[in-house]
Amino acid sequence: GPAELELLERLLGLPAGNKYGVLGERKVPVLQTNNGPGLTGLMTIAAHLVRQAKKEQLLGSTTEERAVVQQWLEYRVTRVNGGSSKEDTRIILKDLNMHLEDKVYLAGNIFTLADILMYYGLHHIMVSIT
């Protein structure tokens, strides 16, 4: 949620000062903007912050890489949330293990937003199993 986005801002070297809120039962993060309704959604806001920080390579540098980054952002938002069951967690870890078998980073050879968001999302799981 917002805490994660604030961590991302720091990682990207952006100045603090963005205001975040949450929406609905699932606590979807919202970035308040000066005019109109805010920008909603974890991966949407994260990608926006990356572009604001002018670090577009974190979104991938080829068409394929960009697609793979999107794939894992979508994965993060649809499959990895705090309330995952043990079975879901196991499936997630297995998916990740298989995908990473021949790669160093999720998008292949470069570090991207996919790695960042999957890391944040899985941090609590990793901490509990190590």
Binding site: E101, D102, G108
Partner: protein, 224 residues
């Protein structure tokens, strides 16, 4: 420290085990340490040493920037597990018996015997040289064939792939590997004669089965 003889399968296995829980030879970013080890390896590690292969492909992607990676290239014996020695340099490249002194000694008059011996050796050398072209260059290729979705009939897809016939192409074993969301990719081995069959041709013919095949990748390529 070291990995044994990196030119041998045993050395590659040591490297593979070392890289099982590491992304790089030293530290957490690519460095001259990785370049030093990369350059000691003749060809991509085989597919069963998947950690080494993953590392190899990753370091290969830094080929253009290798001069600017941090660190200083050291001898191979400075990297790897502490309890293994580096023996890579020990193997000499040319263990050729072909390094015969073809000119003999010009000092004395050649005796009949010496002349005969020299001519025998020359004949041997020539016949050894002429035998070489008979060795056919072959490669073992592992292909990843991806379907459109999880409803694609993988049995039919495999049939289509195996129906591709060509001089110098032999299909090997295959298996279905899940890639997430219920989709499975076909991983199939083949052996090709290098000057008759190339991966471009394989890709063209495999992706021609548009109804089943979404894409094809080379997962591994080894000279045999």
């Amino acid at each position: 420290m070291g990995f044994g003889d990196l030119r041998s399968p045993a050395g590659l296995r040591v490297l593979n085990d070392f890289l099982a829980d590491r992304s790089y030879i030293e530290g957490y970013v690519p460095s001259q340490a990785d370049i030093a080890v990369f350059e000691a390896i003749a060809a991509p590690p085989p597919a069963d040493l998947f950690h080494a292969l993953r590392w190899y492909n990753h370091i290969k992607s830094y080929e253009k920037q290798k001069a600017s990676l941090p660190g200083v290239k050291k001898a191979l014996g400075k990297y790897g597990p502490a309890d293994v020695e580096d023996t890579t340099g020990a193997a000499t490249d040319s263990k050729d018996d072909d390094d015969i002194d073809l000119f003999g000694s010009d000092d004395e008059e050649e005796s009949e015997e010496a002349k005969k011996l020299r001519e025998e050796r020359l004949a041997q050398y020539e016949s050894k040289k002429s035998k070489k072209p008979a060795v056919v260059a072959k490669s073992s290729i592992l292909l990843d064939v991806k379907p459109w979705d999880d409803e694609t009939d993988m049995a039919k897809l495999e049939e289509c792939v195996r129906s591709i016939q060509a001089d110098g192409l032999v299909w090997g074993s295959s298996k279905l590997v899940p890639v997430g969301y219920g989709i499975k990719k076909l991983q199939i081995q083949c052996v090709v004669e290098d000057d008759k069959v190339g991966t471009d041709m394989l890709e063209e013919r495999i992706t021609a089965f548009e109804d089943y095949v979404q894409s094809m990748d080379v997962a591994a390529f080894n000279k045999i």
